[in-house]
Symmetry: C2
Subunit: 231 residues, 2 copies
């Protein structure tokens, strides 16, 4: 019993989501049925389901059932978008400008994606009427075929990744720096040159632990802030 049985259940469910067998919002079998199907008891199936719920991959509701989590554009979006107003409320961004191009990967991207070509998504976003977010995302072309033709892309990219490509983002590592606004920032954002900005370098990983997006964002915090909870 080197590998626990619940791990097998866990992996099986992930594989079904990745393969598209279970799409966003799909209902899973009950604990008992799933256990019978995979040859384990209800308690063991339950342990795997609870772990997947805690990772945000499944949603469970007493009396209703277990469902693949749906990344809805305006609700779950804020899990990975951390800008908040002074009172803690969510600051919904609006897409102001967008350019999607196909280009060769940089050395760093090649190392992370194990792939030579990427789509680059350059976007300006506004909050409360002011353009204060500049974002450059890079994704490997092989995972997102035809992405360039879908522009303009929706506000919440991760909902698109999930619904159109079956790629579910599970984790994002971010590195924050304080920087000064450059000419590139000023060209896109409503800020004077030299304003203090937070620069965020993000590495996004999906549920099968592939790095699927690299993103560089620059925020003018002003009245807003970047909010985190450490536990």
């Amino acid at each position: 019993m080197t590998v626990p049985l619940y791990q097998h259940v866990y992996d099986t469910i992930i594989a079904r989501i990745v393969s598209g067998d279970l799409g966003p919002g799909a209902m899973l079998p009950s604990e008992i049925d799933l256990g019978r199907e995979l040859g384990v008891s209800q308690g063991t199936a339950r342990k795997a389901l609870s772990a997947l719920e805690q990772r945000g991959i499944l949603q469970r509701r007493q009396g209703r059932g277990t469902f693949v989590a749906t990344t809805t554009p305006e609700s779950d979006h804020f899990h990975f978008f951390r800008l908040r107003r002074a009172d803690g409320s969510e600051a919904t961004p609006t897409l102001e400008s967008e350019t999607v191009t196909r280009r060769a990967a940089t050395a760093y991207e090649k190392e992370k994606f194990s792939e030579g070509e990427v789509f680059e998504i350059l976007r300006g976003r506004s909050i409360d009427g002011k353009t204060i977010v500049r974002e450059i995302s890079a994704v490997p072309t092989s995972l997102f075929p035809g992405l360039v033709d879908r522009s303009p892309l929706p506000n919440a990219l991760y909902a698109l990744y999930q619904q159109s490509y079956g790629i579910v983002i599970a984790e994002a590592d971010e590195q924050l720096h304080a920087v000064l606004a450059t000419e590139d920032d000023v060209a896109m954002m409503n800020v004077p040159i030299g304003s203090p900005l937070i620069e965020v370098r993000r590495t996004a990983t999906d549920i099968s632990d592939r790095i699927v997006e690299l993103r560089l964002s620059r925020y003018l915090t002003g009245d807003l802030h970047y909010a985190v909870t450490l536990r």
Copy 2:
């Protein structure tokens, strides 16, 4: 059965830690003994213990036992101190200067602490030889009697809180802004005026959900960054 039995076990253990009955590093009874003592089965006791482990309040090791987590100065410290080097390694700060004073609480502090008097801890800290962190912490005097006489305080305040006052920090909410270095910053840190800094406003909560510290930190990120993982 409005309140689950495992919740009672959970609360009982927290109460014992808060009361000092279980100090840092203390060993808890085994799952079976704890269950027998509180009148629940091993599985129910286990559920509470696992939840406390996941919150970082207990540490469990197969074959050894269950222990109250120890906030060791140089290991667990980095859970709440997020500055990292470019390669992701932990950047240990050194205390450069410190002033501890007793003063009346501001309106905001009074609201959060429900108390009128605080200790203010003003510290400058250096990393890799350069003073690039300025921190102002405020804690209610009633929870930390005699704190002013303990100066200079250790590098890791939360280890002190735990070991000398039995206060275990469980969660910290942080709000980040990009700002420019002021004269106050320049007086304490090795930075030119106008340098971009990250300002962090932290609210720290202990295991019984009391707000026990408010902290304002200003970091020169430079070669370093503030690292977060979103899940």
